[in-house]
């Protein structure tokens, strides 16, 4: 085993442990992450296998196949994170809107310091 294999395996194991043990991952994601880790370690130990699979799929080298899959995965993750980010923004807006509505005040005018009438049902 050479140095890069040790580094990669340590990284995979660390990531796998983090995701399964520490983060609140869903029941669907947990087994998938374990599988991802095991498969990852297998290909780190036997890199030639990726080339075999690549040939089946019509790609010349295993490293190229890994690169393509990596691109796909990153694109998917970014899109997922972005969608999540938009969702959070919408929730945040809702929160600040409700806060603004609660603290609405009537300034100046005939009833100084008066408050708006309680909301009607809409």
């Amino acid at each position: 085993m050479n140095v890069i294999q040790i580094i990669l395996i340590m990284g995979l194991v660390g990531l796998g442990l983090l995701v399964t043990a520490r983060l609140q991952t869903s029941f669907v994601m947990k087994p998938l992450m374990v599988l991802f880790t095991v498969v990852g370690i297998y290909f780190v130990l036997y890199p030639d296998r990726t080339t075999q699979i690549a040939h089946w799929l019509g790609v010349d080298r295993g490293a190229d196949l890994m690169f393509y899959l990596f691109m796909l995965l990153v694109s998917f993750l970014l899109t997922h994170l972005y969608a999540r980010q938009r969702e959070l923004k919408a929730q945040l807006t809702q929160l600040y809107r409700e806060d603004a509505l609660r603290r609405a005040e009537q300034l100046g005018g005939p009833e100084p310091g008066g408050t708006p009438k309680p909301p009607e049902e809409i």
Binding site: R97, A100, Q106
Partner: protein, 227 residues
């Protein structure tokens, strides 16, 4: 007497300009609702003596979010008509009365101001802005199916039905197109009416910069994808 609520979204507005806008609105625009979209300066203090409702977002969310907050508030207060009015002094309070009259008479659910219905109004628009607005009209048409004479013009009047049915989720500037899309989706009646917009050095510095156009387009596309 119908309840009219005029929403004025503000963000770091010059207090003097804001007060001027509010003073112009008070005689013609019913209840004035100032929605402070997380300004870093204290605008409440400037408005203290005026009979307006003051709402504040603790952080800056964007003009679309401020309009929606104001509209929700107005509906809660029992508004029959909701007016959108920019704070920077570019709109004429007299135009509000004209648009209100049209909606109150029941001829339309939404009255949209347009700077292109009278030659004299259109001539006041800076040339580059005129060109961009033509492009924006086309973008609006692509996204909403409404072919209007103007785009991104902030003066509108909605009746209660329209104000209740339209919910702006575009927090930033793309709300102007989103509003039109919902007018179409909800099958609301709409009409454009001529309005005059005064381009002062101040309103030009506060308004949308031409460079923002692209950002609005990106927001629109993203909003289509990530619904």
């Amino acid at each position: 007497m119908p309840a009219i609520f005029t929403i004025v979204p503000v963000f770091n507005e010059d207090p003097e300009v804001l007060v001027q806008t509010v003073r112009g609105l008070l005689p013609v625009a019913g209840q004035v609702v100032v929605v402070d979209d997380g300004s870093t300066q204290d605008l409440r203090e400037a408005l203290r003596t005026y009979p307006v409702f003051y709402l504040r977002h603790s952080i800056n969310l964007g003009q679309g979010a401020a309009l929606q907050t104001g509209t929700t508030f107005a509906l809660q207060q029992g508004a029959d008509f909701v007016v959108h009015f920019d704070a920077d002094g570019q709109h004429q309070p007299a135009d509000v009365a004209i648009l209100l009259e049209e909606v109150a008479q029941g001829g339309t659910d939404v009255a949209l101001g347009s700077r292109f219905l009278r030659k004299a109004d259109a001539r006041k628009i800076p040339l580059l802005r005129q060109v961009l607005l033509q492009a924006a009209r086309f973008v609006n048409f692509l996204f909403t199916g409404l072919w209007l004479t103007d785009a991104h013009q902030g003066l509108r009047v909605l009746n209660r039905k329209a104000a209740s049915l339209i919910t702006l989720s575009e927090n930033r500037q793309a709300h102007a197109t989103e509003l039109l899309a919902q007018v179409r989706r909800r099958k609301l009646r709409y009409r454009e009416f001529p309005v005059t917009v005064e381009y002062t050095a101040y309103s030009r510095s506060k308004g949308q910069s031409s460079g923002q156009s692209l950002g609005i387009l990106v927001d629109l596309v993203l909003n289509k994808i990530f619904r």
